[in-house]
Amino acid sequence: MSDPEARDPVGLVAARLRDLGLDHPAIDPAETAADLADRIAASASLDALVPGSGGPDPTAFDPSWPDGPPAQG
């Protein structure tokens, strides 16, 4: 681990921003790192609704209700 940037979350985010073509003065790596942490925490809260693996096909959204009992999850 000779690259100091790789040892801290902000450095990792800065590197990832560069990889994605998002290295721009308007995009602050530290703010982005904090924002990402919040969003990943919010995503983790969805574990209460979603199984760790498997689960329903998430790509087949249809607002209509088919006949039969309500969908489970």
């Binding site: 985010v13 990832r16 921003l17 994605l20 073509g21 998002l22 721009h24 003065p25 308007a26 995009i27 703010e31 982005t32 924002d35 990402l36 969003r39 990943i40 919010a42 995503s43 809260s45 969805l46 574990d47 209460a48 609704l49 979603v50 689960g55 329903p56 998430p58 790509t59 959204f61 249809d62 607002p63 209509s64 209700w65 009992p69 309500p70 969908a71 489970q72 999850g73």
Partner: protein, 467 residues
């Protein structure tokens, strides 16, 4: 400006002309826009041309539908040929759109007169819509992202303004501005030719002065569209019929717990009174809890974030400095987060939609009530909604009661229900089963007829504005 129903009747009886209505609408727009900023474009020439065409059709005995000759506004994320689509963003240039969105084609084919394009929150991603002011108090926000349409309808400039709704962006300004707002079932209205925020959550629909106006507008807008594969081919009912059937015999759920709480005290009181009022009209009122909705906000943003980032990926890479910080952060995160987070949010959406379905089926509900929003319009410089004992960021508060119906795709209508101690509007949200807009509109029309709140006009409104 009269309501859509009043205008339609007057036009057909010879009591007025579309040119008269349109000139009044244009005059009101010019007079009020310096205070409201509701319109980004006022299309005087195009509107008068359309008005004269409508008058010719009426004179020839042709009936193009309920919007024939009626002035309307269209949110500035919707393409209108010959006019730019700026999306409330400095990143979008002045080049005119080449073609009309399907929605605009339908409005034009129905004889509607589009007087201008209404202001949107930047990229349709926000609930304040600066610099638009709320006609009830110019120091306060109109809501968003369809804030221009909300302000224009509330002030009586037009009886209908088109909005879009990804997490509540029709119903939020409808509630805060004291208008009716209808988000129909996902796929009921074509989205072709409209800038996206989040493909799988975006809906289009009207903000109107009355429930009758929303029903009439949906009749014009709904239907299949080869340009939009998500547009449903289900038959389009005559939504305006049966609005007067009342609610006797209906079972209406009253949502408690998350995500309805906390709410401001005046909102809680108005909501309870609204449910009681519908009960006195003969509906069976049923208390309902759907605990899964606690996770609605996380699922909503978990979907909006990557879908919006994908839609705007070139913009966020090339000109991030031209995007507001809140939206820029969302777009950057959408490009950086791993796909598992997106798919987890989509799966959570399925769970939430299933829970709502269970609530309807298990309780044999025809409709489900919530406060449209937990609170009334915040001052423009305020970040939080104040509940007295606590506060909540308005950007989250204004979405948590509306977003579940984007996630589930269910139709949801907001109708004016009352006013808080400062005289600011409070909305009642009425959701129904998929493609059962008729029931939501029926309940809304009944409530509107007995609640007695639709006659009040904001301090800043056009002469002769409809109640």
């Amino acid at each position: 400006m009269t309501t859509i129903g009043e205008a339609a009747r007057a036009l057909r009886s010879g009591g007025t002309t579309s040119r008269e209505l349109t000139e009044a609408s244009l005059a009101a727009a010019e007079a009020l826009n310096p205070d409201l900023s509701a319109f980004v474009i006022i299309d005087t020439g195009g509107a008068l041309e359309a008005a004269d065409a409508a008058d010719e059709a009426i004179a020839a005995g042709r009936d193009l539908g309920p919007l024939m000759g009626v002035p309307v506004g269209v949110k500035d994320i919707v393409d209108m040929a010959g006019l730019p689509t700026r999306c409330g963003s400095p990143a979008y240039g002045p080049a005119p759109a080449a073609t009309d969105a399907t929605l605009v084609r339908r409005l034009r084919a129905g004889g509607a007169v589009i007087v201008g394009k209404t202001t949107t929150h930047e990229l349709a991603c926000g609930v304040y819509t600066p610099p638009v002011s709320n006609p009830w108090d110019l120091r306060r926000v109109p809501g968003g992202s369809s804030g221009g349409s909300g302000a224009a309808v509330a002030a009586g400039i037009v009886p209908m303004g088109i909005g879009s709704d990804t997490g509540g962006s029709i119903r939020i300004p409808a509630s805060l501005c004291g208008t009716v707002g209808l988000k129909a079932t996902y796929g009921r209205v074509s989205r072709a030719g409209v800038a996206a925020l989040s493909w799988s959550l975006d809906h289009l629909g009207p903000l109107t002065a009355t429930v009758e106006g929303s029903a009439a507008t949906l009749e014009v807008l709904a239907g299949p569209d080869p340009r939009d594969p998500s547009a449903s081919s289900r038959p389009v009912p005559e939504y305006s019929r049966g609005l007067d059937r009342g609610v006797d015999g209906l079972r209406i759920g009253v949502l408690h717990g998350s995500p309805v709480e906390p709410v401001q005290a005046d909102v809680a009181e108005t909501f309870a009174d609204s449910a009681d009022l519908l009960g006195r009209q003969g509906a069976a009122m049923v208390g309902v809890e759907v605990p899964e909705l606690e996770h609605g906000l996380a699922a909503e943003f978990g979907i909006v974030c990557p879908e919006a980032a994908a839609y705007h990926r070139d913009l966020v890479r090339s000109r991030p400095d031209q995007i507001a910080p809140f939206i820029r952060a969302l777009l950057v995160a959408g490009l950086m987060m791993e796909p598992e987070h997106y798919f987890k949010a989509l799966q959570a959406r399925r769970a939430i939609a299933g829970a709502l379905r269970s609530a309807f089926v298990d309780n044999r509900l025809d409709a489900l009530l919530t406060p449209t929003l937990p609170g009334t319009a915040v001052p423009k410089d305020a970040d939080d909604l104040d509940y007295g004992a606590s506060t909540e960021p308005a950007g989250a508060a204004y979405v948590r009661t509306t977003g579940p119906f984007n996630l589930s795709g269910l139709p949801a209508l907001s109708v004016p229900a009352g006013f808080d101690r400062d005289g600011l509007p409070i909305g009642l949200q009425i959701a129904a089963a998929p493609f059962d807009e008729e029931t939501a509109l029926r309940v809304g029309a009944c409530f509107e007829s007995v609640a007695g709140v639709s006659g009040r006009r904001p301090p800043l409104s056009a002469p002769g504005a409809a109640g």
